[in-house]
Structures are given as structure tokens and as C-alpha cells.
């Protein structure tokens, strides 16, 4: 199941990358080359084993409530930001959800 240029474009869109036409063609070839190699995994029976998703076997531990936030030693949080005004990070205007002023969308 080779990936098409159309799929590569969709993936680039998801990844917020914008390769030009030539790059799409090149990437399609390269991804298919790599996936061809990865296809070796299809030969294995993977019914038995558990998933390994973490680097070690331990359980999570809780933060010490006395741990302080790691300081931002030099200045404001926006010191490295391309656009920082009045204490805000600033980006080009987003389409507001309700057409009104403040959008308080929150996490989905």
C-alpha cells in the first residue's frame, strides 16, 4: 500500500508543513522507500505481545507539592517570542468562534 502524492499532501497539512510541488514528489518517493522497508513488520505475528509504549516499566510518581516552578531566569516569558505585546503572545487574528470579542474555547 504505497502512499500517493495526495496522501502526502494531507499528511503535510496535518503536520503544518508546506512542501512545494517538487518536494511533495520527492517526499512521496522517499516515504514509499522507507515504508517498503518498514513493511517487514507485517511478516511478524503480533497477536501475543503487549504494547511497549514507555522506555521503562515503572508506574507514574506524583510531584512533590513543594517543588517550585523552574524559574525563567532571564526576563519575561515572551523574551524569545517573535511577537509579544502587553504581556501577551501575539499571532495574526484567528477566526473567532462566536464572531464576538473573546473566545474562551478551552481545551476540547
Amino acid at each position: 500500500m504505497a502512499v500517493s502524492e495526495e496522501q502526502v499532501r494531507r499528511i503535510a497539512d496535518l503536520a503544518r508543513l508546506k512542501p512545494d510541488g517538487a518536494a511533495i514528489a520527492r517526499l512521496t518517493g522517499e516515504l514509499n522507500g522507507i515504508l517498503e522497508h518498514v513493511r517487514a513488520l507485517e511478516r511478524l505475528d503480533v497477536e501475543g505481545p503487549e504494547d511497549t509504549v514507555h522506555g521503562s516499566n515503572g508506574a507514574i510518581t506524583y510531584r512533590d507539592p513543594d517543588l517550585e516552578p523552574d524559574g525563567l531566569v532571564a526576563g519575561a516569558p515572551g523574551d524569545r517570542a517573535p511577537d509579544w505585546r502587553n504581556g501577551f503572545f501575539v499571532v495574526p487574528r484567528l477566526p473567532a468562534l462566536d464572531g464576538g470579542a473573546d473566545e474562551d474555547r478551552g481545551a476540547p
Binding site: I11, G55, G75
Partner: protein, 481 residues
């Protein structure tokens, strides 16, 4: 290293200044190594490294994906050009508190994605043994800095072999500890379940001592272990008498260059001579390690690199008129081709309709690979011995056009990352003047045993190598500078 520090004649910063001068010399000219992306100024280093500890006065080179306060952290990427972290990596703090001095930041493949350091946005690093060849990667700058005798020890990171493979290519020692042994806080993440900070040394002892300093639990990394850190130099010179060394068939196939196999056989012979028992073993899923790795690592990377969006730091395309354009332009401009390739691959492997076939399946194969190792230890094998890389350092540009060929450079090293076990690469001789590394793999948390075997190998070769300078603050063999 503390044991020889304090002999007293030279001021502590004499060695730091000497190292700095050497580093500066290797940065310029037609024969430059370009091991460093940034170096401290001489004036800044006066009086540094006086904290009493195991590294007092020792200059340390640091891979550019470890956050430092005094030097930029670019990860070899255009995206983070000039980026200054407002906090420092836990390993850097530990080095400082032990009296070590960060001399500079070393070159690397962009975001640690590569095996040759050619994927740096700031140009490649050259191998001190042959300037026409790569130093390996992704921690190529750190390996070259040690190999060139600029520093005796350096920090790198190893996600699929990025410490061990360049150590082998540059003829130095490189350790990847057990996953969780060293804090990843302040290591810019590539693939979080595989990344570990590792150490380079001009000798096994140098690498082990630096590892001792940086190991241990960190409250800011949920994946760092609360286990007690053992003394990695316990029984350092006790040799290998009675130890069982496994030799996995799957690491000695046709992919391995013949001369390297010969060096490995010789190394095994020397271990046998010193009382080790050598046993052939099988790790049947080894062939699946590279494909597994090249699903899991890019999948994690695609998510880890999503924070590079041009909002809070990094480059932003100035003409971007929408948020979408900020993302698209900043990322497309900021990332080099290999990073784009891996983000694409990882995004695909996680996307709807493909997750099970790629990411899901790779997780299961990762378990099979881990089980191979566990069965081996259960069968009474103490450590495994393998080549570190199927080839010696290759020529600059030789593999840049062929991603899969480049990925296969990692064939012997990715297994340790997938299984979370420690590995060390130690020089076992050379082929046509190019260094060759042998790799020792051990069960989780058994770094001490692994280091002892590496030391035995090193000592067995000592007759063929020059003696190192007894003062650890000084550079290494110094042959190249």
C-alpha cells in the same frame, strides 16, 4: 576524575583555557573540524570550575540539544538559531555542581535526527581521523571534540545509537545508560521513550565518571528512576574472569564489513584469554529493530516537534498573515529535509487508518525485541558483545541521498534503545586507519558490569595505544591537534 585533581601546580582554569584554545583552533581553516556550534569566551571562563566535586576544573563539551543558560541551544536547527533557554538541563546543573566547566556546544544532526552530523543546519563536522569522513551522529560534534583531544569527556544523547555510533567512528568511548538512569529534563526531546543522555570519554573511565556525575533521580522527569545509583567504577579493573559474554548471530551477518568482523573476533579472543566464557546466542527479532525504530521514533518526534510553531520562540515567517501561515511557513523554513521527512513519516504512522498497521504494530514488535534480550539474560548471559556499526566512518555525502541506507547505520545500536538497556561502544582497533568500535550490551541497570567488561577490552588493547595524559582536566590523546 577527582582522584588526580588537586595535584596543585596549575590553576584550575589552566586546563579549561588550554581546551578552549584547542577548540578555537579546530574551528577555523581548511582543516577545521567544526565540532562546536558555540564556544564560551575566554573571559567568561576565568575562575570557573572551582566547585569541589568529581569534575573540578574539567572542561566538558555538550551536545547542542541540552539546554544551557550561558550558551544558545539550537539543536543544529535553523528553527532555533540563537535560541537561549531560560532554564538549564538537569545534567548540565549536575556537571556544574561537580566543578565541571561547559566549554561549548557541539554540532549535531538537526534535532538529533541522523547518523552523520551532516543534517546540521550549520554544516557538518568532520572526523578527526579522516577529514573527508563523517564523525557519525547524531552527537558527532561531541565525539569529534573528544577524539581531537580538545576535551576528555563530553555529553551527547542517544536515541538509536547517537552516542555509540559516533564514538565508534571517532575512536572514543561512548555510553548510553539504561533508560531512566539519567534525567531527560532539559534534553530537547526527539523520541521520548528512546532518548537518553549519554557520555563520551577518551577512556572508559572518563566516560564512566561523567556518567556517575549525571545519573540519578530527577523530580522534573517522570521517567527517571528512583533507584540508587551504584558506583559505576566498582570492580573497574577486576577483569572478566568467569563472565559469560554472549555473541548474537544476528549482529554478524553479511551487512557487517569483513574487517570489522575480524576486529570483533580479535576482541572476543582477548576476552576469552582473560577468562570470559564466550557463547553464541540468538536474538531472533533483531532484523525488525530498524523498521520498528523508524516507525516509533518518527511518531514520537512528530508530536515532540509540534511545539516548534513560531508562537513563543523560534523563527517566524515575517510576512505570515494568518496563524496557519505562521505555522506552515515557520516550520517549512525552520526544519531541514531529514526533520521534515521524519515528521511526515511519524504523522503518517499515527494518522487515522494507519495507526494500527504502523505505530500499533511497532509497539508490539518492540516488546518482542525486549523479550529477546530478557530471554538471553535468563539463559545466563552476563553481557552481549557486538560490533557498534556495520561499517567504519563513511565519506561525507556518501549516504545523504539515500535515507534507508543512512538508517541502516543504526542497525546494531537501535535495539538497546528499544529495549531500554545500557550499551557502550569501546575502540577495538582500526581498519585502514579508521577506528572500529565494539559494543557491549547489558541488562537494565547493570552499567557497572558493562563498564567493567569495556574496561577489560580497553586494557587488552592498551599495548597498541598511546598512554593518556594522567591529568583528567587535560585533553585526551591529543593526537589530532
Amino acid at each position: 576524575m577527582a582522584r588526580s585533581v588537586g595535584s596543585g601546580e596549575a590553576a584550575p582554569d589552566h586546563f579549561v583555557m588550554t581546551a578552549l584554545a584547542r577548540a578555537q583552533r579546530t574551528q577555523e581553516g581548511s582543516d577545521s573540524l567544526h565540532a562546536f556550534l558555540a564556544l564560551r569566551e575566554e573571559a567568561e571562563l576565568v575562575g570557573r570550575g572551582t566547585a569541589k566535586g568529581d569534575l573540578t576544573g574539567v572542561p566538558v563539551a555538550v551536545k547542542d540539544n541540552l539546554c544551557t543558560l550561558d550558551l544558545p541551544t539550537s539543536c543544529g536547527s535553523r528553527f532555533l538559531e540563537g535560541y537561549r533557554s531560560p532554564f538549564e538541563a538537569t545534567v548540565i546543573r549536575k556537571v556544574r555542581e561537580a566543578g565541571g566547566v561547559v566549554l561549548g556546544k557541539t554540532n549535531m544532526d538537526e534535532f538529533a535526527m541522523g547518523s552523520s552530523t551532516e543534517n546540521s543546519a550549520y554544516g557538518p563536522t568532520r572526523n578527526p581521523h579522516d577529514l573527508g569522513r563523517v564523525p557519525g551522529g547524531s552527537s558527532g560534534g561531541s565525539a569529534a571534540a573528544v577524539a581531537a583531544g580538545i576535551v576528555r569527556c563530553a555529553l551527547g544523547s542517544d536515541t538509536g545509537g547517537s552516542v555509540r555510533q559516533p564514538a565508534a567512528f571517532c575512536g572514543v568511548v561512548g555510553i548510553k545508560p539504561t533508560y531512566g538512569r539519567v534525567s531527560r529534563y532539559g534534553l530537547v526531546a526527539f523520541a521520548s521513550s528512546l532518548d537518553q543522555v549519554g557520555t563520551f570519554g577518551a577512556s572508559v573511565e572518563d566516560a564512566a565518571r561523567l556518567l556517575q556525575v549525571i545519573s540519578g533521580h530527577d523530580e522534573r522527569d517522570s521517567t527517571s528512576t528512583r533507584r540508587e545509583v551504584p558506583d559505576f567504577l566498582d570492580g573497574f579493573d577486576d577483569g572478566v574472569e568467569g563472565l559469560v559474554v554472549g555473541v548474537p548471530d544476528e549482529y554478524f551477518t553479511d551487512a557487517l564489513e569483513k574487517e570489522i568482523r575480524t576486529r570483533c573476533d580479535e576482541a572476543l579472543e582477548r576476552l576469552r584469554d582473560r577468562g570470559a566464557r564466550i557463547r553464541r546466542v540468538s536474538l531472533p527479532h533483531t532484523a525488525y529493530a530498524v523498521p520498528t525504530y523508524y516507525v516509533l521514533a518518527p511518531a514520537e518526534a512528530s508530536s515532540n516537534l509540534a511545539r516548534f510553531d513560531g508562537v513563543r520562540y523560534g523563527v517566524r515567517a515575517p510576512e505570515a498573515e494568518s496563524v496557519r501561515a505562521v505555522y506552515d511557513e515557520s516550520r517549512t523554513r525552520g526544519f531541514g529535509p531529514e526533520v521534515v521527512r521524519r515528521i511526515m513519516l511519524g504523522t503518517f504512522a499515527l494518522s487515522a487508518g494507519y495507526y494500527d498497521a504502523y505505530y500499533g504494530r511497532a509497539q508490539k514488535v518492540r516488546s518482542l525485541i525486549t523479550r529477546d534480550f530478557e530471554r538471553t539474560w535468563d539463559d545466563g548471559i552476563d553481557v552481549l558483545f557486538t560490533p557498534t556499526s556495520p561499517t567504519p566512518a563513511f565519506e561525507l555525502g556518501a549516504r545523504t541521498g539515500d535515507p534507508v541506507a543512512m538508517y541502516l547505520s543504526d542497525i546494531y545500536t537501535v535495539t538497546a534503545n528499544l529495549a531500554g538497556i545500557p550499551g557502550i561502544s569501546v575502540p577495538v582497533g582500526s581498519v585502514d586507519g579508521l577506528p572500529i568500535g565494539g559494543q557491549i550490551l547489558a541488562p537494565r541497570w547493570q552499567e557497572t558490569r558493562m563498564i567493567r567488561v569495556a574496561r577489560a577490552l580497553e586494557a587488552s588493547l592498551a599495548g597498541t595505544r598511546s598512554r593518556r595524559d594522567p591529568d583528567p582536566r587535560a585533553g585526551g590523546e591529543g593526537g589530532m591537534v
